[in-house]
């Protein structure tokens, strides 16, 4: 990797490790390999959101041309959010694309992602299904996001009725994750979710 990229990551690494946010357990970065091309990030779900109390893991890939090009970031932890794909974890955030600036750092990227969790942009969605629910069925969106955070990211609030519907489909022999996706997609209507799984 180009010298400037390695140097930058080393310096940034120190910065993030020392920062206040780490001390307060809000964000974290770890090295995955010795060449500084791949890192693992972690962000805490912001308070007063369905993600509160949950922790999300991120894959961070540093391009050769860093910091002139943004790092490639995606969610490893499954999440229900309009700007993050519930299937692949791909993120739609302007600063990770054309609004990137060379003075931004891993710390500012992680803080921006945390801000994205607190303030979704449903009109610029990555996951159209989630965005539609966010706009048209907001209470169901909030419960679904909380349920996903509880199941996949250690969020503490359980949504018992949603758990029960997943168990209902699981007992019929369906894969629980597939059942959860189908139920989430169809606003937790069990019959439509079953149809969905059987048709795809």
């Amino acid at each position: 990797m180009a010298n400037i990229a390695v140097q930058r990551i080393k310096r940034e690494f120190k910065e993030v490790v020392k920062s206040e946010e780490v001390a307060e357990c809000h964000i974290q970065v770890e090295l995955v390999n010795d060449s500084f091309t791949e890192l693992k990030g972690q962000i805490a779900g912001p308070p007063d959101t369905p993600y509160e109390g949950a922790t999300f893991n991120l894959e961070i890939k540093i391009p050769e041309t860093y910091p002139f090009n943004p790092p490639k970031v995606k969610f490893l932890t499954a999440i229900w959010h309009p700007n993050i794909s519930s299937v692949t974890g791909a993120i739609c955030l302007d600063i990770l694309k054309d609004q990137w600036a060379a003075a931004m750092t891993l710390r500012t990227v992680l803080l921006s992602l945390q801000a994205l969790l607190a303030a979704a942009e449903p009109d610029d969605p990555q996951d159209a299904v989630v965005a539609k629910q966010y706009k048209e069925n907001h209470p169901i969106f909030l419960k679904t996001a909380r349920h996903w955070a509880n199941i996949y990211a250690g969020g503490t609030i359980r949504e018992d009725d949603y758990d029960n519907r997943v168990i209902q489909l699981k007992n019929m022999g369906f894969d629980p994750h597939k059942a959860r996706v189908a139920l989430s997609t169809h606003n937790w209507n069990v019959e439509r979710a079953m149809e969905h799984i059987l048709n795809y």
């Binding site: 400037i4 140097q7 054309d98 600036a101 003075a103």
Partner: protein, 158 residues
């Protein structure tokens, strides 16, 4: 009396140069509000190239950026180059942008070859891309128009 060309914020055509009819049509439609009200059409869709994504900074402007020397005071305050995050050494040369932010030449030059704004504050430098400059003017004009309407409204009902 103001010159025709000044008044219309344009320049006379050069020898053998053709007027850009599409541009004038687009301007007419946008300025009259027809584009915004009746159709989905706007400047971006008329000019697929000018999607608002900033082109590189003007070569001439970049070449003429002032060079400063890092002072003892800056070193004492641990001032860093915002791109490589390395601390400056005393007497080291740095390029200064119009927004007064400074960078190592080897750090800022590749960035300005890619885009036209300060990596720290997004202050925009001029570009060599005519379409983009036109897009910027268009945005400024739209803003001015909004302000004018606002002033008019508040003078009537305020």
């Amino acid at each position: 009396m103001a010159c025709y060309f000044d008044e219309h914020d344009c320049e006379p055509l050069g020898e053998g140069q053709q007027p850009n009819h599409l541009l004038h049509l687009a301007r007419l439609l946008i300025d009259s509000g027809v584009a915004a009200q009746d159709t989905e059409m706007d400047f971006e869709s008329l000019f697929p190239g000018a999607d608002g994504k900033p082109p590189p900074a003007s070569k001439n402007v970049v070449e003429n950026l002032p060079v400063i020397r890092i002072t003892e005071g800056q070193v004492a305050r641990n001032v860093k180059c915002p791109v490589c995050l390395g601390e400056y050494r005393e007497g080291e040369r740095a390029k200064e942008l119009p927004c007064k932010h400074n960078f190592h030449p080897k750090c800022i030059l590749p960035w300005l070859k890619k885009t036209n704004s300060c990596p720290l504050c997004r202050h925009e430098l001029p570009t060599d891309d005519e379409q983009y400059e036109e897009f910027k003017k268009q945005k400024a004009r739209a803003k001015q128009r909004e302000q004018d309407i606002e002033t008019l409204h508040s003078s009537m009902y305020g």
